[in-house]
């Protein structure tokens, strides 16, 4: 029972990170109509930025600012590329997926060559924080608590923006019917660029919380996380924000449960096999696709 509770706590913390990733990914898909496969790699670069700034200064506020700023800048820099694709080819999700895969390859290879010769780097223990609660096998670390609370706050603010503000109304209108949104005077390009900005902020927050949770970063982390992010989106239903919340949490819990009871890297296989079975049985996703 202790193992179960310990793994459940870890799973919820990890799942909350996946929720943030999937939310950002789905927002780009709904508003900008692109599959941004390089989004986890941008998150990893933000994590490296946090690590770099931590090495230079001890100012946590600066670290957070730098992490979010890098994520926003990289996201907005990718906007003209995707806009050119959608302008010349119409809204073609395949083309955006291919382009984002190219970007992911570039980012991953640059990171593996330039930072610590491609080896993982560890965050200082003051950043990760120690254990807050310890009861037998059940431990709750500061990183897990920050990840959970940070994710909840970020998601709540995001959904408030989406459902209670004009900008959110614009996002939903474009997601529903881009042409009709244009007809009623919603600025498509400006809203699309703003969506990149929001996704950049989400990406920066994800990077900070993820670094606190796992305490290290490597160039290959993006590839691993990208696969999970894409799988969770497909299992939930492409573009389904609420479905992404549920499935992200479920994946996190499934993964940590498997890690707790099965040795080696089989735990990841279990999670992926479950997702594969769900995708094969219900290709449109558990909660239905929104695109």
């Amino acid at each position: 029972m202790e193992i179960f509770i310990a793994q459940l706590v870890s799973g919820i913390a990890l799942g909350s990170i996946y929720v943030l990733l999937v939310t950002g990914f789905n927002l780009m898909l709904l508003v900008a109509k692109i599959i941004q496969f390089a989004y986890p790699q941008i998150v990893v670069i933000s994590m490296y930025t946090c690590w770099g700034v931590l090495q230079l200064t001890d100012n946590k506020f600066l670290v957070i600012l730098a992490g979010i700023a890098v994520s926003i800048i990289l996201n907005i820099l990718s906007e003209p590329i995707f806009r050119k694709i959608t302008t010349t080819q119409g809204v073609d999700i395949n083309a955006s997926f291919v382009a984002s895969m190219g970007m992911a390859m570039v980012i991953m290879d640059i990171m593996s060559h330039s930072i610590n010769y491609g080896f993982p780097v560890a965050f200082p223990s003051e950043w990760v924080g120690g254990n807050l609660l310890s009861f037998g096998l059940i431990t709750v670390s500061k990183g897990q608590l920050y990840a959970l609370i940070g994710s909840i706050i970020a998601v709540l603010i995001f959904f408030y923006l989406l459902y209670r503000t004009n900008q959110g109304r614009f996002f939903r209108a474009i997601a529903e019917n881009r042409f009709a949104a244009c007809l009623v005077g919603i600025p498509i390009i400006k809203t699309s660029v703003f969506s990149y900005f929001i996704v950049g902020v989400l990406g920066g927050i994800t990077a900070i919380l993820f670094s606190m949770l796992i305490g290290s970063v490597s160039p290959w982390l993006g590839e691993f996380v990208a696969l999970k992010m894409l799988a969770v989106s497909i299992v939930a239903g492409l573009g389904n924000l609420k479905g992404g919340l549920v499935c992200g949490l479920i994946l996190g819990i499934l993964e940590t449960m498997a890690m707790g009871y099965i040795s080696g890297s089989w735990s990841n296989v279990i999670a992926f096999v479950v997702m594969l079975v769900v995708v094969l049985i219900k290709p449109q996703g558990l909660f239905g696709s929104k695109i």
Partner: protein
């Protein structure tokens, strides 16, 4: 023949086969990365069968092709008509699952790798004969009613349905063909290198295959031949300091080609332009 040229020609042929394996399902708009998983399975199967059971090469080759086809058939029952990204996810997760199984299975060498696969005499000519046979088959498919049906499905699946095209059967057919070719490529790869490593079957390989397909041109089979030779030649043509950044080059090429020339280097329109024109002037 020098060793460099031998392996360059060998690997280029194998990547052309894999590029064609990716090209076939993409004719109906599906990015079928299951081919990489099939290649891994058959490569390890081929190596194991040759080293431990002393099977002859021809038997292993046919077994590999059959195995690839069966794996594709099982999956295509569910994803024959699935949306593109469902097929992408099935492929990516399958690659990851297979890689993890191989890494954790001591019988297959685990993370260290699988070595001492017996050599086959005259392997390079055999590879190129198989390449020509597969190329001929794909040319025939492309110019058959299946190829024409695939073209319609790619442009508009609803129109294809109204024209009587069975999209699921067509998708299944292309997926099975693709994985059969990938199965063959896996066997040839195992015997070419005489060793295997799970690190070979990763995201980098998927990115490389996508580069071959989209840079060469996804509308015809000929662009893949050109792009495979060019991309495989990059590590040989450039100095080692630049060649070590080849993933950056491949990724950048992929983005640039999508922006500037989305159909790739060799397009169908270009090939039509090469056909001799009929003149009606007397």
């Amino acid at each position: 023949m020098s060793e460099i040229l031998y392996y360059f020609l060998g690997f280029t042929a194998i990547y052309i086969l894999m590029g064609w394996a990716l090209y076939l399902p993409y004719r109906v708009g599906q990015l079928h990365f299951l081919i990489v998983a099939c290649m891994a399975i058959t490569a390890y199967f081929g190596g194991f069968a040759a080293r431990e059971w002393n099977w002859p090469f021809v038997l292993i080759l046919f077994a590999g092709i059959f195995m690839g086809a069966v794996i594709a058939f099982v999956f295509s029952m569910a994803i024959g008509k699935a949306p593109c990204f469902t097929v992408v996810i099935v492929g990516l997760t399958s690659v990851f699952i297979i890689k993890t199984i191989i890494e954790n299975w001591r019988l297959l060498g685990g993370t260290v790798g699988f070595f001492h696969i017996p050599t086959v005499n005259n392997l390079l000519p055999i590879i190129y004969i198989l390449l020509f046979v597969v190329g001929f088959l794909i040319y025939k498919i492309d110019h058959s009613r299946w190829g024409r049906a695939a073209s319609v499905v790619f442009v508009d699946s609803e129109v294809a349905v109204t024209l009587g095209v069975d999209i699921k059967k067509l998708g299944m057919f292309f997926q099975i063909m693709a994985c059969a070719i990938a199965g063959m490529a896996g066997i040839l790869d195992a015997f070419l290198v005489n060793s295997l490593s799970p690190e070979f079957f990763t995201f980098s390989m998927i990115g490389y295959l996508m580069c071959i397909l989209f840079v060469g041109g996804y509308t015809t089979m000929w662009g893949i031949i050109l792009s495979a030779f060019i991309l495989q030649g990059i590590p040989l043509l450039f100095p080692s300091e630049i060649a070590s950044w080849r993933q950056v080059i491949y990724g950048a090429l992929l983005v640039i080609i999508i922006l500037i020339r989305p159909e790739g280097l060799i397009t169908r329109k270009m090939l039509w332009g090469l056909k001799p024109k009929v003149s009606y002037n007397k």
